[in-house]
Symmetry: C3
Amino acid sequence: MTRVFTIQTSGAGLYEFTREVADWVRGDGLLTLFIRHTSASLLIQENADPEVQTDLGAFFDRLAPPSDHPAMSYLTHTYEGPDDMPAHIKAALLPVSLSIPVMGGKLALGRWQGIYVFEHRRAPHRREVVAHLSP
Amino acid sequence: MTRVFTIQTSGAGLYEFTREVADWVRGDGLLTLFIRHTSASLLIQENADPEVQTDLGAFFDRLAPPSDHPAMSYLTHTYEGPDDMPAHIKAALLPVSLSIPVMGGKLALGRWQGIYVFEHRRAPHRREVVAHLSP
Amino acid sequence: MTRVFTIQTSGAGLYEFTREVADWVRGDGLLTLFIRHTSASLLIQENADPEVQTDLGAFFDRLAPPSDHPAMSYLTHTYEGPDDMPAHIKAALLPVSLSIPVMGGKLALGRWQGIYVFEHRRAPHRREVVAHLSP
């Protein structure tokens, strides 16, 4: 069983879609999510306190600043904009696929875990996540 | 086939549970592990030399120091303790799920690979890892 | 259905093997790749512009420099060479397993996504990637 979730983003940050996924799964099996992009990621993170998401964004922006930042002068792939190569770096560091067991129709997520698309580009994007449910 | 492994931790660091998983799998298929937390991770790493594990811990502590460290003054999520937000950062950087093929009842791990829970918090925690074995 | 792909490397960097994998998969299901090493990784990244791969390598070399670099003087696992412990660090940060849905005999990769082995050691290595295809 396969489905594509489409997540419209409007700038860098985390976009939760736990509910859409939870509504789709059923029975017992394994859910796999796969994001079809190299400048956005999947992420499972805390869904309780929005400060966590702000801080995560701030950490990754410091780890991989825009390519017009002096610390990133060694980058060569700059013609797609200063946020493009850092987006590829973040996409290497963060998950492109995630697998979550499904038990009795429910995702085996912990109490505080939500499923997110982590958008790394500034401009709006339409992101596709392919979901696969195996029995 | 599903099972929950519980790993009791006693401070930050790596906790191996390769043997428990190896004893549980059978036949041919795919093992998936999923950790139900946002401040601890799964990790496959070298199981031969304990220095590797010490150095991994040291690297990640330098990459994401406690939130009372001057370099982390930009963090806002601090009320759960100085080791909490760095734990979320490490949990974003390290795997929440892992999939390992099983062949003839054996995990397809390489010779030096062990399966670990990487605890990011200082206080003891009871960590749950959901294992799913698909045929 | 299981198969082992062997990728011969000749120094640090990205080695694409998308075509070999695409030629092997069939039907509808889930492909899982697992690399049997702790000093090389799997990676899905942009396959269009080779500068992206150069920059990725440069970023990770700065994030985890060789152990004879002054910034890494805290490392203790050094007897296997200055590129060994940074290789373990990179292998912790980058994927050891990847799962990609297969639909109608085709990998559900995005237009710009390629599948790579990311070699972290300087010396040539023969890397094994176990592929599992579930229905």
